[in-house]
């Protein structure tokens, strides 16, 4: 059966309950949800807020590819990914991933792998505004 995929970019707060509900099914014994949230401290430095920007059409297509590959590799029933764009306060949800599968191991592995690959391939960037007023786009080496 074809996996259900739901990919979204949004400037509104992410409803993670709705996202999780979207992947639930009587065919599945496992649902794993992951939330990436805005952290206050990075190596001792204090963040005031974050901004996310994206090359939106490509970010959506890369997220879809990622979801398709994970669904195929781990035999998932459904994958839902929503990434927030724009300015986010401390503690807000920047990204939410929910996956469902018949058994838990595949769901855990898939959610973890989706996050790892996302951070390497999906054209979304975050800009830190630090407590001292300095701003900085984050571009991992």
């Amino acid at each position: 059966m074809e996996p259900q995929l739901q990919i979204r970019l949004t400037r509104a707060p992410i409803n993670h309950v709705e996202l999780t509900e979207a992947v639930r099914s009587p065919l599945c014994g496992a649902v794993v949800s992951f939330l990436g949230t805005v952290r206050e401290l990075t190596q001792g430095r204090q963040t005031t807020y974050l901004e996310y920007d994206a090359y939106e059409p490509m970010a959506e297509s890369e997220l879809r590819k990622l979801a398709e590959q994970a669904a195929e590799k781990w035999g998932l029933h459904a994958v839902a990914i929503t990434h927030r764009l724009g300015a986010l306060d401390l503690g807000e949800i920047a990204v939410a991933v929910a996956v469902s599968s018949p058994h838990r191991r595949e769901a855990f592995e898939a959610a973890s792998e989706i996050m790892s690959v996302m951070k390497q391939t999906v054209p979304i960037w975050k800009k830190e505004t630090w407590a001292d007023g300095e701003t900085e786009w984050i571009h991992p080496e």
Binding site: Y52, D53, Y55, P57, V122, P123, W125, W137, I138, H139
Partner: protein, 81 residues
């Protein structure tokens, strides 16, 4: 050919705009695009070796050709999630 390049994040800051127009030879590759970008915007050299290029929404290697009329985007390493 004239190529419009969409720029993001730190690159957008360095060029001062979300899109720049470059004049490239008809058979230009991604590498040629980098070179022209550095020439027109010397500050961008600080990102040399880091910049990624997408042609029509797909990542393109340094040797890939840039077809006329393609949508081209250039950006530093991603940091979503």
């Amino acid at each position: 050919m004239t190529v419009t390049v969409l720029c993001f994040a730190r690159l957008k800051e360095l060029v001062g705009s979300g899109r720049v127009t470059l004049e490239l030879p008809a058979d230009a590759s991604v590498k040629d695009l980098h070179r022209e970008l550095f020439q027109q915007f010397p500050a961008v050299e600080s990102l040399a070796g880091q910049l990624l290029v997408a042609v029509n929404g797909e990542y393109a290697s340094d040797d890939a050709a840039i077809p006329a009329g393609a949508e081209v985007a250039c950006f530093p390493p991603v940091s979503g999630g």
